[in-house]
Amino acid sequence: AAVRSPDQLELTEAELKQEIIRTLSADNPHVPRDIVRFNFKERAYKLVDDMDHTAVHFTLNGYLIHKDSDEGRRQSIRSCAEAGSFIWFIYDSYVEELERMEKAKEKEKAKPVAVKKEDQKTGRKLSHIDSLSMVARAAKIAERMVNLNTYDDIAQDFKYFEDASDEYRGQKGTLLPLWKFQYEKTKKLAVTALSWNPKYKDLFAVGYGSYDFMKQGHGMLLLYTLKNPSFPEYSFSSESGVMCLDFHSDHPHVLAVGFYDGHVAIYNLKRASPQPSYKSSKSGKHTEPVWQVKWQKDDMDGNRNFFSVSSDGRIVSWTLVKNELVHMDVIKLSADETTMQGPEGLQLQTLGSGISFDFHKKIDYLFLVGTEEGKIYKCSKSYSSQFLDVFEAHHMAVDTVSWNPFHLKVFISCSSDWTVKIWDHTIKTPLFVYDLATAVGDVAWSPYSSTVFAAVTIDGQAHVFDLNVNKLEPLCSQLVVTRKKNKTTHVQFNPADPVIIVGDERGLITCLKLSPNLRKKPKEKKGQEVKKGPEEEIAKLEKLLSLVRQPGKKEEE
């Protein structure tokens, strides 16, 4: 039996099990429901129905006022401060300050930094910059990863794909299109210059400008890396179109650039500035577009210098002396037969216009200049008025001249007269002539073989030749740009990987991989070791040339 207290109600079982319903409401149970008031209008007592059910449990009055309210604006904002002024405290503060000033002075010797007494302010600023640069670094890594994921199949092709069908193609090869590099700001500009960075093999520089004489606008210089096909790593804008550029071989962050308005400039990639580090002054600049610039070895005083060639017929050497670009005319391209009679009986000498030049790899003073008239001059840096030799090379402008990277005597030239010619600089007639059916924009030797070169024509095709395999026909002629009315303007081989980049008139750069047939090394004879290295390349080319020079002797061998 349940324990019961003495005053507990006694109920039967049935009564205990009875369910009693209780509803809970939000009404205040303590509110009186029977209040009556005398209503004077009806002259009777009426029951007051609408009682307020709010029960206040707790109130607290605050003292905060909004700073923009009337009362707030009347009062001013206050804060508390406390400190002490004890002799030891003052002394310690001074000692600390002196130490800080000394440290700052030491730093000043290294860098010019203004010592500020408001350490708090500078402290705050520094941390702000650091956090921003850390975010930038993380963002860069994230961007590259996203790019790698997006273009994963292209990256795999670039690294590992070797076209197996090349075996069945006989001697022919193909160019596999990889990435396409495009930037919205350069869509209306033509690619005027391409160059791979000598140190970072995935970085290349592109110059943008316009070949159209009538439509000249601004120019751009962009640096792309193969690791990020969607956005350039560095970009610089200029007022005049960029016509040519060259990386310094020892200082891969230094770029020399030539512009359409005749200026030259040096850009330093390590500096964050969008302006060039050095620019030519109005007095020394060329009067016509600068078509090519090339860095030279540091001169006797250790100053960096580069050469530039322009349509105004001058080849100028620019030296960086004490933070200034100093120019010196090296050669004037005077064409001998063209001295004209000017007004008042003066003898005017017209100058040929230089379009391209190239310096010999080993013989320091020797270089070639290609002109608009189709002649190629062999010049020496020591003679400023005379040429060593003249080649009647082409019927139209010589767009590119280039020494063979291995063989010391051979160079190649291409022109708008549809031909590509290969020469020995000791012989006046070309060794090989190729007619490519349309104007040739650019030609480049491959860095891995002395007999392979590529040419691009204005119909958008790229042609790759290997003299060792086929002396008469290209191994590959492939359409690189698909849009109509688009000309391919430049081509460059990557120094390390088997890829080439091709630039066109719409600011697009296409990266293509060379199929194995285009990269053939000479076949090893059984039992003999394959010698690799530049000597082999030279010997290979020499064999070919000897066949061309003296075809009669071939039978004797």
């Binding site: 400190a83 004890f86 001074y94």
Partner: protein, 106 residues
């Protein structure tokens, strides 16, 4: 005797080295801070023996320049806990052992 002389020299050195105006704490805007600091230095140099008149000079000038109700304390040994209007406090050391506290509170 030599030690005493050395001590005197040290004192003189320390007075020389540590006599430049050193702002210990301030939340004033740059211009105001520089002006106020220069005013304090001028006042303290002018009334080198009398802290009260130096403080009077500073307070009156600050009232005229920046608005009413400035407070100034000058001395060599005091601690303080004050309520000040935001961006209107300057606490600086000067002359090796003098401390000046200037604040506004209406």
């Amino acid at each position: 005797m030599e030690e005493a002389e050395e001590e005197k020299k040290d004192e003189a050195d320390y007075k020389r080295l540590h006599s430049f105006p050193l702002i210990r704490h301030s939340d004033m805007p740059e211009e105001m801070r520089v002006e106020t600091m220069e005013l304090c230095v001028t006042a303290c140099e002018k009334h080198a023996t009398n802290n009260e008149s130096a403080a009077k000079m500073i307070k009156e000038t600050m009232d005229k320049r920046f608005g009413s109700s400035w407070h100034v304390v000058i001395g060599e040994g005091f601690g303080f806990e004050i309520t000040h209007e935001v961006k209107n406090l300057l606490y600086m050391f000067f002359g090796g052992s003098l401390a000046v506290c200037v604040w506004k509170c209406s």
